[in-house]
């Protein structure tokens, strides 16, 4: 079947099987391999991206269901090659090691900050509780999100500060 959706602002159309999962559509059809996958049971969150502004697990959405919707992936986060505040926060605070959970974490963190620009530690921990990380022990991810909250303009702000 034909599926058309907007991905990072561009309209894309592909002919796919109805059963194709959104994560495979994004990775295999569009080659946007920043969105990862790590489980069969919707538990890990490495596949997190946005559909119509909500952070969701793209392994548990059919590409067909995303038809006509607005999808954002990690590849669309940096603007003109510049890291955004959340990405910069992960860099500053060492919020990543192997980097495998990182795109999902970034998409969840951005979703949180859109709704709550100044979350406390507990709120951040709660928000990322569906994103597993095997490397960092989460501490620096929490700090990274706090960094982003404190520097909404990202690295630019640091320069001007």
């Amino acid at each position: 079947m034909q599926v058309t959706m907007t991905v990072n602002g561009d309209e894309v159309t592909r002919d796919v099987e109805p059963r194709m999962l959104l994560v495979h559509f994004i990775r295999d059809e569009l080659g946007l391999t920043g969105t990862h996958w790590g489980c069969d049971t919707s538990n890990c969150g490495t596949c997190t991206l946005w559909v119509d502004g909500e952070a969701v697990k793209s392994c548990t959405v059919l590409a067909a269901m995303a038809g006509g919707r607005d999808v954002h992936t990690v590849e669309g986060v940096a603007q003109n090659g510049e890291l955004d505040a959340v990405q910069q926060g992960f860099l500053e605070e060492h919020g990543l090691q192997c980097g495998f959970c990182t795109p999902g974490m970034i998409m969840t963190a951005k979703w949180l900050l859109e709704r709550d620009p100044d979350p406390d530690e507990g709120t951040i921990r709660e928000a990322i509780s569906g994103n597993l990380c095997r490397c960092t022990g989460y501490e620096n991810i929490v700090r990274a999100v706090r960094w982003a909250a404190e520097h909404p303009a990202g690295a630019d702000e640091e320069v001007s500060a």
């Binding site: 919707s42 909500e54 952070a55 969701v56 509780s129």
Partner: protein
């Protein structure tokens, strides 16, 4: 990653359209709402529907509002909206208590109340919330609408009152005064399904319990509840001793099964311990002693 078997995909444009599609494709067709119960089962090939009917475009199913003397919740309301609803927080904090411990924020962005009820999983948290509150389910078919008490909705594991060409459109909960409600769950880890959980509302008339509802999840309680415990409490004083007696009945009358979440005796113990706790908290909330 494990992937589903082949199926056809249809996107419904209205409730009537969804029902017409269900009728057209027969019993191998399934509605897909949030997909967060169905797709995981399809990936493991535990569910192999031939046709999926996507109901995410349907309008008029995402409300949480007062309708007469009831609160009406559309079937497509997502867990996240239930968690954040000020209306529910005012009338029934049990919803937020439960939602806070259902899955994780990402799952809650997709999963729906309708899907939760229709999945009929014995460990579903909202099932015992609805049971405790003695709500009702509005089911639509081409023949029209019917209303089923939630206590008759679940007819066994993964079996509900929703027939083949029917759709759950709304859940309704009576508004009560002088009440408190609460939910408590033990899980092995955040985001895990319940080892056991209990929910309750308590309606006070002075120090007497005017009415009470108890819901029990994942402990094999018939109909997700324990009417004997409710009967014991109703019309008597709200005292710790009587809460303990009612909780003991939940312990004695439930029928949990041993699995890797815990042995039968432990789950029974939790049925008692958690029932006792939610009765206390619901009562404290009814008295305005706790938020």
């Amino acid at each position: 990653m494990q992937v589903p078997d082949v199926f056809e995909y249809e996107r419904a444009s209205s409730v009537d359209d969804a029902i017409a599609l269900l009728e057209k494709h027969g019993d191998e067709a399934r509605l897909i709402a949030g997909g967060h119960s169905l797709l995981p089962m399809m990936k493991l090939r535990l569910a192999v529907p031939e046709v999926l009917i996507d109901i995410n475009d349907l309008e008029g199913l995402d409300h949480i509002r007062i309708d007469g003397d009831e609160i009406a919740i559309g079937a497509m309301v997502r867990h996240a909206a239930l968690l954040e609803s000020a209306l529910l927080a005012e009338h029934y904090p049990i919803f937020a208590d439960a939602e806070r411990v259902i899955a994780d924020p990402l799952v809650r962005n997709r999963g729906t109340i309708g899907g939760s009820f229709c999945q009929g999983d014995p460990a579903e948290d909202l099932a015992s919330v609805g049971t405790a509150l003695r709500g009702s389910a509005v089911i639509r078919s081409s023949a029209g609408e019917r209303t089923v008490p939630i206590r008759e909705f679940h007819q066994g594991p993964y079996e509900t009152a929703v027939g083949d060409a029917e759709m759950l459109v709304e859940l309704r909960f009576p508004i009560r005064t002088h009440i408190g409600s609460a939910y408590a769950k033990v899980e092995r880890r955040v985001g895990d399904w319940a080892v056991a959980a209990a929910g309750a509302f308590v309606q006070l008339d002075g120090d007497q319990i005017a009415d009470v509802g108890i819901g029990l999840t994942a402990v094999g309680a018939d109909g997700f509840t324990c009417p004997e415990a409710e009967d014991l409490l109703r019309g008597g004083p709200a005292t710790p001793e009587r809460f303990a007696d009612a909780a003991q009945l939940c312990h004695d009358l439930c029928a949990p099964v041993t699995d890797q979440r815990g042995p039968e005796d432990y789950k029974r113990h939790l049925a008692r311990e958690l029932t006792r706790r939610v009765l206390h908290r619901a009562t404290a909330r009814a008295r305005g002693e706790e938020s």
